[in-house]
Symmetry: C2
Subunit: 377 residues, 2 copies
């Protein structure tokens, strides 16, 4: 516990030693707009290496390696001297070199739509937690629902030689991953299936969940039910629509095309579609929301109206139970999705080589009030 203070000049000098602009150094995500690398100027060239430690401790390089990695076969006295040198020099093993040599990075990549989305944030956290128990770090990126960005990110992660990938796909064609998977990158898709390739996947049972949610509304007397969902290119959106259609068909109810609206989750779009369904001669008396973003917008829309409209949302969300009326939802468990996906990934990394799996997780209907409102015609 030495309250040692580095002279303030040190850090400044180190900073000054850096090359002029960051981007000149190295690109990760390919960007055709940016010209290729030029200036060499090293970055951690000033850092002590094992060789330096060895020289200072008066031992061989391998001995330092042994001490650093806690391997056996070093006498206590030698170890002490090496430790002293390490501390004095502020040595820290360069894992880049280690990774190159060992061929494994002890890191996995996670690509999803939006890290900040309340649905994906817990998923991401769960993946991180599993990675941690396996001694791996997590590199993650948001695709923003853009297939090109997904591909760019995924390939950047592959170039970094992540040991595995967990992907919430934005793209519907993952053939670009074939060489990577063949080269041994374990890959698990979560929340949505891969496109045009075989791979492990962990999904919620969107179809059944939506069918139950819509059947719940029907059971409460609704006949005209609107479906407002995510963009049709997204697998879960179409699955949930299928669930809606199945529930309606099972009840012998017709579906008017104007009751269906798939599109982006931007509040404006959702508002426009909701407004049109709720107006006219035969307005819908209930709405089914295709995901949490849509649900939240619909809660706002309905709060602004006088006439009560029933609502069931896909995905649970915080405080749903404290709204008035409390919001009935078809709940998924995003953390569990993430955990399952990550565990499947590490099973692959541990050598499991059976056929790709499709894990389906059930959803749970939580009746809170908004879905039990009777139709007001």
């Amino acid at each position: 516990m030495t309250p040692r203070t580095t002279p303030p000049g040190d850090a400044r000098r180190a900073r000054r030693a850096r090359r002029r602009t960051y981007e000149q150094g190295l690109e990760t995500v390919a960007d055709p707009a940016r010209p290729a690398t030029r200036s060499p100027e090293r970055r951690y060239g000033t850092r002590p290496t094992m060789k330096d430690v060895a020289a200072r401790a008066g031992v061989g390089l391998k001995t330092v390696s042994r001490v650093v990695n806690g391997e056996a076969g070093v006498s206590p006295d030698t170890e002490r001297r090496v430790q002293e040198a390490i501390t004095a020099l502020g040595f820290r093993r360069n894992d880049s070199a280690r990774i190159l040599r060992k061929g494994r990075t002890a890191s996995i990549g996670l690509v999803l739509e939006d890290l900040a989305d309340p649905f994906y944030a817990p998923l991401s956290r769960a993946v991180e937690e599993v990675a941690r128990t396996h001694g791996a770090l997590l590199i993650n990126g948001s695709s923003a629902e853009d297939p090109d960005r997904e591909r760019e990110l995924v390939l950047a992660l592959c170039a970094r030689r992540v040991d595995g990938l967990v992907i919430v796909p934005a793209s519907d064609d993952h053939r670009y991953l074939e060489p990577e998977i063949a080269a041994g990158v374990a890959t698990v898709f979560v929340d949505r299936p891969p496109g045009l390739i075989e791979a492990d996947m962990v999904l919620s049972d969107s179809f059944t969940g939506a069918r139950e949610g819509v059947a719940h509304l029907i059971a409460h007397g609704h006949r005209r039910i609107g479906f407002i969902g995510d963009h049709p290119k997204i697998h879960t959106a179409t699955e949930r629509l299928r669930g809606y259609e199945a529930a309606m068909a099972e009840a012998g109810l017709p579906v008017h095309p104007s009751w269906l609206a798939l599109g982006g989750t931007e509040p404006e779009r959702v508002r426009v579609d909701a407004a049109s369904m709720l107006s006219g001669a035969e307005p819908v008396t209930a709405l089914f929301a295709g995901n949490n973003r849509v649900t939240v917008t619909l809660v706002r829309v309905l709060a602004e109206r006088e006439r009560p409209v029933a609502l069931v949302g896909f995905d649970d969300f915080e405080l749903a139970d404290l709204l008035s009326p409390p919001v009935t939802v078809v709940a998924q468990d995003p953390a569990r999705l993430g955990r399952s996906a990550a565990e499947l990934l590490f099973r692959r990394l541990d050598g499991a080589d059976d056929a790709p799996r499709r894990v389906a997780q059930p959803t749970r209907l939580i009746a809170r009030g908004s879905g039990e409102l009777a139709p007001r015609d």
Copy 2:
């Protein structure tokens, strides 16, 4: 657009080639409980290298490198042949080797309390976005408010030679970072200041925000106001308490010790403290919540009570405006905190070497209803 299909055996063979258990391979986060590495078995040894591409294209290694990196000085014909070989072999540059050679990783680390917390998720996303514009990847980890885990994570990131670090500290002593910073790892603290070292930081003005929030309650007639905040070891918690005390003092109001409760954000703890403040002969008529987790719990507690109690929460949260009463908050902008921190980081990476900065961001009081309730004595 060749709909090429890899024979299913390929991936399986690659998987089988892997070593037996993942953890044997390589450790990232030091774990004394796990024994040191042993089995060597390579991982991407089966991957083609530039050398392989060169052999196949009948050119020199450096020519391949030129093509891969888009450098000038390659004849169109040669380039074509190299490209063909790259495609045929499924070559992808190994960035681990590149990083080792170039000395820069084009990645930054982010360590925060909990990736899934609705306050930190947008912060994280903002950091990611800035990193992206600078061509860097983001490696992140959650410290779970554990100083040891923070240190472990940060040092693992340093060993990976991330170019920079953004840290929401859990620890109150960051001297362990001195050698790293001296070696050139740009470091920016966000949301909370560093402990015992000088470094850049980006903070919200917790003191002023809390003072305004409490003054708002006082202006609405409250005299007995409870403060329920985060654990006192957390800087923002004590700053907000200071703000509370300042507002009370400025109004000439006494503060009874039983009105103050700092501790974990677990709902049980918050409930117990709230219950005791709200009972007795002279219960508080208003509550000030120290952060969004506490606020959410208090909303639940108050919803269960008959007598209305005023509430102002620190941090805004989704749907706060749709609760009844809508919740008055002192809002921070977590995305902006993240963006500022990341931009500051990249300025450092671009060579800025002026003295460490302390950036303070203002908070904003948003009156929605719960903070405007009159005291009911």
